[in-house]
């Protein structure tokens, strides 16, 4: 295990220097998500700013349900520490081969299978320490559950891919691990599965994850012994041990993520009642998250359904930030990073004035 170190001063200095010289910085955590953030052409000019050494849990009092850790802390290490106190990260971020860091998870904003029930990553973000593009050290939010002092700059960092600041540390809301977890499996076609899920969504069932793939619907129920057994009975399922399945799904190690020759893998966040297409599809979040292999560009189709589609490949970051490719978003970017030195990418050339 590597030792915890505080690299704050070095990092602040590095950003301030880059700002003075108008030098671009490419922020890297463990590099576990490089497949989401392939450097673009302009990035080859950029200096690398590594956060892996800036690591360690700095404050954790389990009774407060909050943990604060430096951004280079690996999710694995963080989650192990929480587990020892019977707690977990509510948003179940993908761990990507165990190397993913907290900062990387927050910057990419990806939440796991429990998102509709446990909340998204951004919901759990309570505070950040960061460096803006002018090399200033800033703190927003804090360690308390309720905080409306100033704009919510902390949550704004979730999914911003480091474009608005270098995250130094993050305070995250934790949750007690459920006492019991059960998985029920149903052999069903996708349309029948969606129908069941729709009906269940209106009932107070202790469901905390759902996944339909390969004509099989898996449903995870979590909570107290009493409520889980009531839930299992109610959905008329047989409970099995699904731990390995949910972990594969969460870490994108499930076979569906690695199909060859099926076209581009798209990640669609859509209204749960969005119709199915005949392309290979995996459904999570009771219908609200779809993974679809398609040769087509699904962006417009998803917009028509009232949702969003992004290709989940090397271009994910750029595609995600391209949604922010309008004047307002560029002005927000410049409010934090006037010289546009943080994680720049070539495609976005918009005149903000």
């Amino acid at each position: 295990m590597r030792t915890d170190t505080d690299q704050k001063d070095r990092l602040v200095e590095a950003v301030a220097e880059a700002y003075a010289e108008r030098l671009s910085l490419q922020i890297v955590g463990s590099g576990s998500k490089v497949f989401l953030t392939e450097p673009t052409t302009s990035d080859t000019q950029a200096r690398l700013l590594s956060l892996t050494e800036h690591r360690g849990v700095t404050e954790y009092v389990p009774e407060e349900l909050v943990v604060t850790a430096r951004s280079g802390t690996t999710l694995k290490e963080l989650e192990q520490q929480l587990a020892r106190a019977g707690q977990m990260l509510p948003f179940e971020p993908p761990r990507f081969a165990g190397a993913g860091t907290l900062g990387g998870a927050v910057a990419s904003g990806l939440s796991g299978p429990g998102r509709p029930w446990y909340g998204a990553l951004r919901d759990a973000v309570l505070g950040v320490e960061m460096i803006n593009g002018r090399g200033e050290f800033l703190r927003f939010g804090g360690q308390v559950m309720k905080n409306v002092a100033g704009y919510d700059v902390s949550r704004l960092q979730a999914g911003a891919f480091g474009a608005l600041g270098v995250l130094l540390s993050v305070s995250i809301k934790t949750l007690p691990k459920p006492a019991v977890e059960s998985t029920c499996i149903f052999e069903l076609k996708a349309d029948a599965a969606l129908e069941k899920l729709r009906a269940w969504a209106r009932l107070p069932l202790p469901i905390t994850a759902t996944c339909h793939v390969d004509n099989q619907l898996s449903v995870r129920l979590s909570g107290s012994e009493a409520s889980v057994s009531w839930g299992v009975e109610h959905i008329e399922g047989d409970s099995v041990n699904g731990e390995a399945f949910w972990s594969q799904l969460r870490n994108h190690e499930h076979g569906f993520f690695n199909k060859e020759g099926e076209g581009i893998l798209w990640r669609l966040s859509v209204p749960p009642d969005t119709p199915l297409t005949d392309e290979p599809t995996m459904i999570e979040w009771s219908g609200a998250l779809r993974w679809v292999y398609s040769e087509k560009v699904l962006t417009d189709w998803a917009r028509e359904q009232g949702g969003y589609a992004l290709p989940f490949n090397g271009d994910y970051r750029t595609q995600s930030l391209l949604w922010s490719n309008d004047k307002l978003h560029k002005r927000i970017k410049r409010a934090f990073d006037p010289a546009e030195i943080l994680n720049p990418f070539a495609d976005v050339v918009v005149d903000a004035n």
Binding site: E63, G150, G223, S224, V270, P271, P272, D273, S320, H329
Partner: protein, 484 residues
């Protein structure tokens, strides 16, 4: 720009009944729930549809007129207090529930819809909207978004930001932002989170999509009485530390209990130094076992009287005193001032003790009635504005309480917002660079600062001025003022 010209312009676009210019008729709009701070605006516009909202925003933009958005005016920090040379844009007539979409478990509503109305409209499907501020029969969902309001049930079900999935926002430049939707995630910067709690500074929220949740099948409310307030505070941390998150966990101290009893006769034990109200929900068997578990913790923690309400009538009575606590104060004191700091739960008993010390020092009574589970304090300082100097002493003491909250690792406002009220305390919570970052962010949305100017974020010069004022004998009372 003259007032007369603006009125003329708006007469041409708004229906007659949507424009208030008569000083007498403007009076009810001179403040929000923070009635100590008042100002008469040039006029109040009450548009009936979104195009009329656009028209008002256009006039403000074109003629550089300050714009203050108003929902129901129940805010407690002066967020909706008018600008003396500006327009109040009241959204109370945009009060339609546009859809309850049962298949997607969402409701799409206009900003003027009352919080409670959403749950009422969803009840027939077994669904409800979870965040429930005590003001829910009156406050608007648009105001809830702008303040990121919480409620008794936020401990388990989250704040407004955690329960809103879509927003339509009109920015001062006349563009509509469509944020989120009926799905859960959207790409790009999380402007939905940024707009939550932005106090009418960044845009006008014109439509909201909220998540609806299934009603829990069973619930119980526990009432536990304590002889010592510190003991009650410690049990709060203990319950949550045991891994149990109640639907609600609220505390009232002796003065709050007394006032509530006088007002609504909820049947609270009058001899208690503090009571805890704890709501547990879920399926029958789960609720039963949790009631037993919590009762044991309460007893071990020193509760001398524990009551459990099982039927809805009795539960409503338990909550009645809590929900009526604010108006109840009005009956035992001519005026009261409500604070809103949040602190780590572990510091509850210590901070409550310090507040009592402040109370003795300033000679002002304080009642505490608050969201204990969240560590969100609401000390109510009782005063009489007709007594010379009392308001000033109250404000000073309030400031002390908030600075204490920051010093123990908390924040000056948990849910009521900064508004005009907590500008000075913001100087204690944030560094100059942080405040500057807020201003830059505001500028990205509203470069001419027409939306709610002067609110929410203090200017740097204001902070350095009060910084200067606080210096006594060359020593800062908060030497680490820059950052606690």
């Amino acid at each position: 720009m003259s007032r007369a010209l603006v009125i003329e312009l708006l007469r041409a676009t708004l229906p007659k009944q949507s424009l208030i210019t008569d000083p007498k008729a403007l009076k009810p709009y001179e403040s929000d729930g923070l009635t100590a701070i008042r100002e008469l605006p040039w006029l109040v516009a009450l548009p009936e549809n979104v195009p009329q909202v656009e028209a008002v925003v256009r006039v403000c933009r074109s003629h550089g007129v300050p714009l203050v958005v108003r929902g129901a005016g129940t805010g407690l920090s002066g967020g909706a207090r008018p600008h003396k040379d500006g327009i109040v844009l009241g959204l109370s007539k945009l009060n339609k529930i546009l859809a309850v979409d049962v298949d997607n478990c969402v409701a799409i509503v206009q900003p003027g819809v009352r919080n409670q109305a959403i749950s009422d409209a969803s009840a027939k499907y077994g669904l409800y909207y979870a965040p429930d501020p005590s003001s829910q029969i009156a406050c608007s969902i648009g105001g809830n978004v702008a303040e990121n309001s919480g409620g008794v049930h936020s401990l388990k079900y989250g704040l407004t930001v955690n329960n809103v999935v879509g927003l339509q926002v009109l920015t001062i430049d006349g563009n509509f932002l469509e944020l989120g939707g009926k799905g859960l995630d959207s790409p790009g910067y999380d402007l939905l989170a940024l707009l939550s709690g932005s106090e009418g500074m960044l845009g006008v929220v014109t439509e909201i999509t909220v998540r609806l949740l299934p009603k829990p099948p069973e619930k119980r409310v526990l009432l536990a009485a304590f002889h010592e307030i510190g003991a009650a505070a410690d049990v709060v941390g203990n319950i949550i530390g045991q891994g149990l998150i109640p639907a609600g966990l609220e505390m009232m101290d002796r003065l709050a209990i007394e006032a509530a009893e006088e007002y609504v006769h909820a049947g609270y034990p009058r001899d208690a130094a503090a009571i805890l109200l704890c709501e547990l929900d879920g399926v029958e068997a789960e609720v039963e076992s949790n009631v037993a578990f919590v009762s044991q913790l309460l007893e071990e923690g020193g509760a001398y009287d524990i009551r459990v309400a099982s039927d809805p009538e009795e539960q409503a009575r338990f909550w009645l005193g809590r929900k009526a606590a604010f108006p109840a104060m009005g009956r035992i004191s001519p005026d009261y001032y409500c604070m809103d700091g949040t602190i780590p739960r572990a510091r509850l008993s210590e901070v409550l003790e310090r507040i009592q010390q402040f109370s003795r020092h300033y000679g002002l009574r304080v009642a505490n009635v608050f969201h204990a589970g969240d560590g969100n304090l609401h000390p109510l300082i009782l005063y009489d504005a007709n007594q010379p100097g009392e308001l000033e002493r109250t404000e000073e003491m309030g400031g002390k309480i908030l600075e204490l909250c920051v010093a123990v690792g908390g924040t000056v406002t948990g849910e009521h917002g900064v508004g005009v009220e907590k500008l000075d305390q913001m100087c204690a919570q944030f560094s100059a660079a942080e405040l500057d970052q807020f201003h830059r962010l505001k500028e990205a949305f509203d470069p001419e600062s027409l939306m709610n100017p002067g609110k929410a974020i203090p200017t740097l010069s204001r902070c350095s001025e009060i910084g200067g004022m606080h210096v006594h004998g060359g020593k800062l009372p908060f030497p680490h003022l820059e950052r606690f």
